[in-house]
Amino acid sequence: MKNCLAELREEKNWSQGDLADQLGVSRQTINALERGKYDPSLPLAFKIARLFKRSIEEIFEPDEKPSKPAR
Protein backbone atom coordinates (compact mmCIF):
# COMPACT_ATOMS: atom_id res chain seq x y z
CA MET A 1 0.00 0.00 0.00
CA LYS A 2 1.35 3.41 -1.00
CA ASN A 3 1.12 6.38 1.34
CA CYS A 4 2.26 9.96 1.75
CA LEU A 5 3.15 9.63 5.43
CA ALA A 6 6.78 10.76 4.95
CA GLU A 7 5.68 13.94 3.11
CA LEU A 8 3.07 14.76 5.76
CA ARG A 9 5.59 14.21 8.54
CA GLU A 10 8.21 16.38 6.85
CA GLU A 11 5.63 19.16 6.36
CA LYS A 12 5.28 19.23 10.15
CA ASN A 13 9.05 19.03 10.66
CA TRP A 14 8.70 15.94 12.79
CA SER A 15 11.25 13.19 13.07
CA GLN A 16 10.15 9.57 12.78
CA GLY A 17 10.61 9.36 16.55
CA ASP A 18 8.31 12.36 17.10
CA LEU A 19 5.58 10.80 14.99
CA ALA A 20 6.08 7.42 16.66
CA ASP A 21 5.65 9.00 20.09
CA GLN A 22 2.44 10.75 19.05
CA LEU A 23 0.99 7.56 17.60
CA GLY A 24 2.22 5.34 20.42
CA VAL A 25 4.21 3.01 18.16
CA SER A 26 7.92 2.35 17.64
CA ARG A 27 10.13 4.31 15.26
CA GLN A 28 10.71 1.09 13.33
CA THR A 29 6.98 0.88 12.64
CA ILE A 30 6.92 4.43 11.24
CA ASN A 31 9.91 3.58 9.05
CA ALA A 32 8.22 0.42 7.73
CA LEU A 33 4.96 2.34 7.13
CA GLU A 34 6.70 5.12 5.20
CA ARG A 35 8.53 2.62 3.03
CA GLY A 36 5.28 0.78 2.29
CA LYS A 37 6.62 -2.43 3.87
CA TYR A 38 3.90 -2.59 6.49
CA ASP A 39 0.19 -1.86 6.23
CA PRO A 40 -1.25 -0.39 9.43
CA SER A 41 -4.24 -1.80 11.27
CA LEU A 42 -7.51 0.10 10.93
CA PRO A 43 -7.21 1.73 14.41
CA LEU A 44 -3.66 2.92 13.60
CA ALA A 45 -4.76 4.22 10.18
CA PHE A 46 -7.55 6.21 11.89
CA LYS A 47 -5.07 7.57 14.43
CA ILE A 48 -2.75 8.72 11.63
CA ALA A 49 -5.61 10.29 9.69
CA ARG A 50 -6.84 12.12 12.81
CA LEU A 51 -3.34 13.38 13.62
CA PHE A 52 -2.84 14.88 10.17
CA LYS A 53 -6.50 15.98 9.89
CA ARG A 54 -6.97 14.05 6.66
CA SER A 55 -9.10 11.13 5.59
CA ILE A 56 -7.56 7.66 5.41
CA GLU A 57 -7.99 7.65 1.61
CA GLU A 58 -5.97 10.85 1.33
CA ILE A 59 -3.03 9.25 3.11
CA PHE A 60 -3.18 5.61 2.04
CA GLU A 61 -3.67 4.36 -1.47
CA PRO A 62 -4.16 0.66 -2.23
CA ASP A 63 -1.91 -1.03 -4.78
CA GLU A 64 -3.62 -1.37 -8.14
CA LYS A 65 -3.82 -5.12 -8.62
CA PRO A 66 -6.54 -6.74 -10.70
CA SER A 67 -8.58 -8.92 -8.37
CA LYS A 68 -9.15 -12.56 -9.33
CA PRO A 69 -12.65 -13.25 -10.60
CA ALA A 70 -14.82 -15.22 -8.18
CA ARG A 71 -15.47 -18.83 -9.22
Binding site: S15, Q16, G17, D18, A20, D21, G24, V25, S26, R27, Q28, T29, A32, K37, Y38, P40, S41, L44
Partner: protein, 139 residues
Protein backbone atom coordinates in the same frame (compact mmCIF):
# COMPACT_ATOMS: atom_id res chain seq x y z
CA UNK B 1 16.92 12.98 20.14
CA UNK B 2 13.45 11.45 20.10
CA UNK B 3 14.61 8.78 17.65
CA UNK B 4 17.48 7.72 19.86
CA UNK B 5 15.20 7.61 22.91
CA UNK B 6 12.71 5.40 21.11
CA UNK B 7 15.41 3.12 19.72
CA UNK B 8 16.94 2.97 23.18
CA UNK B 9 13.63 1.87 24.68
CA UNK B 10 13.18 -0.86 22.06
CA UNK B 11 16.77 -1.95 22.57
CA UNK B 12 16.23 -2.14 26.34
CA UNK B 13 13.14 -4.33 25.88
CA UNK B 14 15.02 -6.64 23.51
CA UNK B 15 18.12 -6.74 25.71
CA UNK B 16 16.07 -7.48 28.84
CA UNK B 17 14.18 -10.22 27.06
CA UNK B 18 17.31 -11.92 25.70
CA UNK B 19 19.12 -11.66 29.07
CA UNK B 20 16.15 -13.13 30.93
CA UNK B 21 15.83 -15.90 28.39
CA UNK B 22 19.52 -16.85 28.51
CA UNK B 23 19.51 -16.84 32.34
CA UNK B 24 16.36 -18.96 32.57
CA UNK B 25 17.61 -21.37 29.88
CA UNK B 26 20.89 -21.69 31.82
CA UNK B 27 18.94 -22.52 35.01
CA UNK B 28 16.95 -25.13 33.12
CA UNK B 29 19.97 -26.86 31.56
CA UNK B 30 22.16 -26.60 34.67
CA UNK B 31 19.21 -27.85 36.72
CA UNK B 32 18.79 -30.81 34.39
CA UNK B 33 22.46 -31.69 34.85
CA UNK B 34 22.16 -31.33 38.64
CA UNK B 35 19.03 -33.51 38.78
CA UNK B 36 20.72 -36.26 36.78
CA UNK B 37 23.79 -36.17 39.05
CA UNK B 38 21.64 -36.09 42.22
CA UNK B 39 19.56 -39.02 41.00
CA UNK B 40 22.60 -41.07 40.05
CA UNK B 41 24.46 -40.42 43.29
CA UNK B 42 21.36 -40.69 45.45
CA UNK B 43 22.49 -37.74 47.58
CA UNK B 44 19.03 -36.24 48.06
CA UNK B 45 15.73 -37.96 48.86
CA UNK B 46 13.16 -38.07 46.01
CA UNK B 47 11.09 -35.20 47.47
CA UNK B 48 14.19 -32.95 47.51
CA UNK B 49 14.94 -33.81 43.87
CA UNK B 50 11.33 -32.88 43.06
CA UNK B 51 11.88 -29.50 44.80
CA UNK B 52 15.09 -28.92 42.80
CA UNK B 53 13.16 -29.77 39.62
CA UNK B 54 10.51 -27.17 40.45
CA UNK B 55 13.11 -24.54 41.37
CA UNK B 56 14.92 -24.98 38.04
CA UNK B 57 11.78 -24.28 36.01
CA UNK B 58 10.78 -21.18 38.02
CA UNK B 59 13.02 -18.71 36.10
CA UNK B 60 11.64 -20.01 32.78
CA UNK B 61 8.11 -19.68 34.12
CA UNK B 62 8.82 -16.06 35.13
CA UNK B 63 10.38 -15.45 31.71
CA UNK B 64 7.27 -16.86 30.01
CA UNK B 65 5.01 -14.54 32.03
CA UNK B 66 7.28 -11.57 31.26
CA UNK B 67 7.36 -12.49 27.57
CA UNK B 68 3.56 -12.67 27.41
CA UNK B 69 3.23 -9.31 29.18
CA UNK B 70 5.80 -7.73 26.87
CA UNK B 71 4.02 -9.08 23.82
CA UNK B 72 0.71 -7.61 24.97
CA UNK B 73 1.76 -4.29 26.46
CA UNK B 74 5.28 -3.19 25.43
CA UNK B 75 5.27 -4.01 21.72
CA UNK B 76 3.34 -2.12 19.07
CA UNK B 77 1.33 -3.87 16.36
CA UNK B 78 4.20 -4.33 13.89
CA UNK B 79 6.63 -5.68 16.48
CA UNK B 80 3.89 -7.98 17.78
CA UNK B 81 3.44 -9.26 14.26
CA UNK B 82 7.18 -9.90 13.89
CA UNK B 83 7.33 -11.89 17.14
CA UNK B 84 4.15 -13.83 16.32
CA UNK B 85 5.45 -14.66 12.84
CA UNK B 86 8.67 -15.86 14.50
CA UNK B 87 6.66 -18.11 16.81
CA UNK B 88 4.59 -19.39 13.88
CA UNK B 89 7.75 -20.17 11.91
CA UNK B 90 9.16 -22.11 14.86
CA UNK B 91 5.94 -24.06 15.21
CA UNK B 92 5.76 -24.85 11.49
CA UNK B 93 9.34 -26.16 11.43
CA UNK B 94 9.47 -27.76 14.88
CA UNK B 95 6.28 -29.85 14.78
CA UNK B 96 7.04 -31.77 11.54
CA UNK B 97 10.66 -32.12 12.64
CA UNK B 98 9.63 -33.51 16.04
CA UNK B 99 7.08 -35.79 14.35
CA UNK B 100 9.73 -37.07 11.96
CA UNK B 101 12.16 -37.69 14.84
CA UNK B 102 9.57 -39.56 16.93
CA UNK B 103 8.46 -41.78 14.04
CA UNK B 104 11.96 -42.33 12.67
CA UNK B 105 13.10 -43.37 16.14
CA UNK B 106 10.10 -45.67 16.51
CA UNK B 107 10.95 -47.22 13.15
CA UNK B 108 14.55 -47.71 14.25
CA UNK B 109 15.93 -45.42 11.54
CA UNK B 110 17.45 -43.12 14.18
CA UNK B 111 19.09 -44.57 17.24
CA UNK B 112 20.57 -41.42 18.81
CA UNK B 113 18.73 -39.76 21.68
CA UNK B 114 18.23 -36.02 21.88
CA UNK B 115 19.78 -34.43 24.94
CA UNK B 116 17.94 -31.76 26.99
CA UNK B 117 20.00 -28.85 25.59
CA UNK B 118 18.98 -29.77 22.05
CA UNK B 119 15.34 -30.23 22.99
CA UNK B 120 15.27 -26.97 24.98
CA UNK B 121 17.28 -24.80 22.62
CA UNK B 122 15.88 -25.83 19.25
CA UNK B 123 12.48 -24.08 19.62
CA UNK B 124 14.11 -20.84 20.78
CA UNK B 125 16.66 -20.93 17.95
CA UNK B 126 13.80 -21.47 15.50
CA UNK B 127 11.88 -18.52 17.00
CA UNK B 128 14.98 -16.35 16.61
CA UNK B 129 15.35 -17.42 12.94
CA UNK B 130 11.64 -16.76 12.35
CA UNK B 131 11.89 -13.29 13.93
CA UNK B 132 14.93 -12.49 11.77
CA UNK B 133 13.13 -13.58 8.58
CA UNK B 134 10.04 -11.55 9.46
CA UNK B 135 12.14 -8.53 10.54
CA UNK B 136 14.15 -8.57 7.30
CA UNK B 137 10.94 -8.51 5.25
CA UNK B 138 9.60 -5.45 7.08
CA UNK B 139 12.88 -3.59 7.52
Amino acid sequence: MQESTESGRDLTIGKRLITNFVVSEFFLIAGNLAIRVLNREGILPPWAVAVVTLVTILPMLLFAIGFFRMLRTDLDEMLQRIVLEGLAFAMIVFVPLAGFYVNARAAGLISSRLDPPEVLLLPSILVAIGVLISWSRLK
